[in-house]
């Protein structure tokens, strides 16, 4: 799993702590870490949302099932991310490890008490909810109007723009083709074909199943179909100052 996870976590800690008031991570500090293996469930759609989780290491996917066998992945969560902040009663998703993971858990009650008690945690909490909302809206736009190529490029660009995601120019893609397909509203075949096409056009190169070498960040950004995706997203993480 490399040491990427731990580093990313510490990055996230520093980043959120620096922005507005205190970091939500402090709520999880005392908690023991639990170990989750790849594709093990953390919680189930429909269950009462008694807990919130924080990813310490690894990657988690959230999904919903509709009808028979239609799975939609609504989000991936990385080291430092909090899962379940925007829930009222029940889990609206099943959470599973994409990779082996370490997570922490607090009860919803405890979380809410902390947020109520500490005035300076509240902006962080509200901020988290707002950012989740913004991400959901971006995803709606992607699913509503973008072509397969634009979707994949948007996804890869977002991955690449996470701090610490690249190691010697190599982008780690922890999720498999099916995960990507279910996240982007496509099929594994389309994902595969589109990667092949992008490789042929020298936008990127696949190195094994879980690594991409991005040859031209510029081309990639121009292919996202978001007009100004590159600048917008680059600013996104830094602009909260």
């Amino acid at each position: 799993m490399l040491m990427q996870g731990k580093n990313a976590f510490e990055n996230a800690e520093l980043a959120t702590a620096g922005t507005r008031g205190q970091s939500l991570s402090s709520i999880f500090h005392g908690c023991a870490t639990e170990t989750i293996t790849a594709s093990q469930a953390i919680c189930w759609e429909g269950d009462q949302a008694k807990y919130l989780f924080q990813v310490v290491e690894g990657v988690v996917r959230l999904h919903r099932i509709i009808g028979e066998g239609r799975r939609v992945i609504t989000a991936f969560h990385f080291a430092g991310d909090v899962i379940g902040a925007s829930l009222l009663e029940d889990f609206s998703f099943t959470a599973e490890g994409v990779t082996d993971c370490k997570i922490r858990r607090v009860s919803r009650k405890c979380f809410q008490e902390e947020v109520t008690r500490c005035d300076n945690l509240r902006p962080a909490y509200i901020g988290l909810l707002c950012r989740e909302n913004a991400a959901a809206h971006d995803q709606m736009v992607l699913l509503s109007k973008k072509s397969a190529e634009e979707r994949l490029c948007s996804f890869i660009l977002n991955l690449a723009l996470r701090p610490g995601s690249q190691c010697q120019g190599l982008l780690r893609v922890p999720m498999n083709r099916l995960d990507i397909a279910d996240y982007l509203g496509l099929t594994i075949e389309t994902i595969s074909r589109t990667i092949t096409k992008l490789a042929a056009r020298k936008v990127l190169a696949a190195e094994g199943r879980h690594d991409l070498r991005i040859i031209s960040m510029d081309k990639l950004a121009r292919l996202t179909g978001s007009a100004d995706d590159f600048s917008a997203k680059t600013c996104h993480r830094g602009s909260i100052h």
Copy 2:
């Protein structure tokens, strides 16, 4: 514009006031109402989000534009709804009247001060953010995995389940075909064809451009592709107690 708007607004007032603590409507109470004509803009994507709005009467659409001419409607807002609660810096959408509207406006600063000052407004605010998130996720699922027919049925069912939406068995659909298409990630032609098909199957009947008679709520619910859409959504509004 019928008097439906006013009634719906009062319904919404009562409903939110009853749930958790105070209603966010109280923040808008003193403000003068502004009049917006159909398709007039209330705010623009990219502008600094200085204000929040509350719809008093009529229907508002939120949209984003990507590339040249691709419009995505991310939400419709009805009487009682608050617009802009989940924003941090800038408007991430353009808001326009679907119909002639009456709205109220408060500055973000004022809104935030009120929420900070009144402890019993905070649950309402958090609740709003969470419900927006849940709605966005439902829409992601719709856009990701549902067929044209399932999308349209989901949309119509959601409209029909708003309290006070039906008048003598007739469902008012204030938005035109293009609005519906851009909301569901389809084209006007597909919307039109699908309505025709549903009418042929005696699920519903179109009566003019802006009214639908739902012949079988059961059939409609079964066609949404959400497994348990009907029960889930029916509970949705009442279950917060």
